[in-house]
């Protein structure tokens, strides 16, 4: 199944989905050395190499710096999908060069489940759920 969204930052990757039900902040909600999330749905699990999905960004504007640290430490997610990216999340993409797609034609929080295998074409703003 293909779902159309809007490109925030381009790139083509594929991987396993990890869905965080809560709004997310890179500053405070994740350990930048391990990629392990501190709070919410995925508390205790790492978002390393996942297609990381959450509703919206929240909290500290230092998030883009933490995202760069995650990339440098090799623990960043492969891509980010969300309902709506704000300026802070946009700069996470731009600075850390993580592909981001938002504003999907269907609610991404309901359509994708943790463990789904997803192909992300952030250049076109399209994702494809290819299997579990």
């Amino acid at each position: 199944m293909k779902i159309k969204g809007k490109t925030v930052f381009g790139g083509k990757v594929e991987g396993e989905a990890m869905v965080q039900q809560e709004n997310f902040s890179f500053f405070g909600d994740v350990n930048r050395e391990t990629g392990i999330i501190n709070v919410g749905t995925n508390a205790g699990k790492s978002f390393k190499d996942k297609i990381f999905i959450f509703p919206k960004g929240k909290g500290s504007t230092l998030a883009p710096y933490v995202a760069i640290n995650c990339v440098e430490n090799g623990v960043a997610p492969k891509a980010i999908l969300c309902q709506k990216a704000d300026g802070v999340i946009a700069l996470v993409g731009v600075m850390a060069k993580i592909p981001i797609v938002d504003e999907f034609e269907q609610d991404i929080m309901k359509t994708v489940k943790t463990g789904d295998y997803i192909k992300v074409d952030a250049d076109q703003g399209v994702i494809e759920i290819v299997g579990k």
């Binding site: 925030v8 504007t61 710096y65 760069i68």
Partner: protein, 421 residues
Amino acid sequence: MKLTNEEKKMLDGGYGSGTAMAMEMVVKWGEVYGAEKLVDVTHTHTSTGEPVEWLKKISEGAKARTYSTIHPFPFDLKRWEKMGVKKEYVEKQMAYYNQCFPYYKKLGLINVYTCCPYMVGNIPFYKSYTNFFGSEAVLLVNSLFGSRNPRVGGPAPLLSAITGKAPYCDLLVEENRYGEVIFEPDPSLKPETLNNADLGAFGYYVGYVAQERVVVINNLARTLDFESFKYFTAPMATSGSVALCHIVGITQDAPTLQAALGKRTNVEKVVVGKKEIKEMWKKLNTTDSDDVDLVALGCPNLSIPELKELAEQLEGKKVKEGKKLWLGMGDDMLNMATRMGLIEPIEKAGATILTGICNGPLTPWDKLEDKPKVVATDSVKGAHYINAGSGMAVKVRFGSTKDCVDSVITGKYVDTGRWLS
């Protein structure tokens, strides 16, 4: 997005690779908001904490094109020993800062190291475009000075400093600046009698209700000075992410309620009374212990009028053995206060002067040799982030400046406010 020839030249590397990199990010940021053009930014205030490699790349061949100041640090870089910060942590952080400093210098950033850069010259004009870091600074310049400042924060101010640009969107656009929720004090509050801590609790409630909306405060029926303004508004960007607060009759864009609301009608109105302030006061006090180990003042950083009051209160007094009083301010404020003779009675009383520090929110509580059990502060923002940043390991007493200071002189915290009973 439509770019001018000059902007295209920046993007294409005509002003070096750092400027091109910054411009690329400004354009991307604008695209997310659907901005049609960029505008000229005059004043910026940048954070610290950039990854060094990134900072190196973006500074390549670049100079700040704006009046641009730098935020403070989590600890006093000169007096960290007095604070009792663990040496290995300081050494690690200093190694990192020492790598950053040459790039700040190269860029021509002004190292004021205070969260209140407007107290030392970073003063935007009405309706100019600015990009300040720090939730309170964003709220203050947008509201009090009436400059047009985006909500983005983080690296965005540095991007604007290097390019002199920001995308025309968000709070830079007039129609996004009108009030979306109105708050009025219940007359029984007697707003004219509220001290700065009371105003802070009021602002904290406003933030919870407003979240990210543009706030209007109506019928405040009192004047505010710079100090009460900062203690009133900073909490709105703590419990919520308010970036613009019109105070009718006080702030630039709000000579009248109508002016603050523009064309908006049927705007939600919320009355704030004793019940709401009590609720916030109780939330901020995470202990009822009267045994306070440390009092942290200066969030946001202390001003001369505040230092005058502290000098008077501390004259001839002594901080009790085993208790600490930390006063956070910018270096320039310390110089002025020293010349004015305000620092002598403060130091004689045994208070610890700290400069270039974010006193409370960024304090590395888990990196202190002798971690306090109970900290008292007159700052809502400080209280909120001490609770969050210490994982609630450090308990907080929140109250008036006078109650906080008295507690380390008498050795016993007594809340003389009217909210706990």
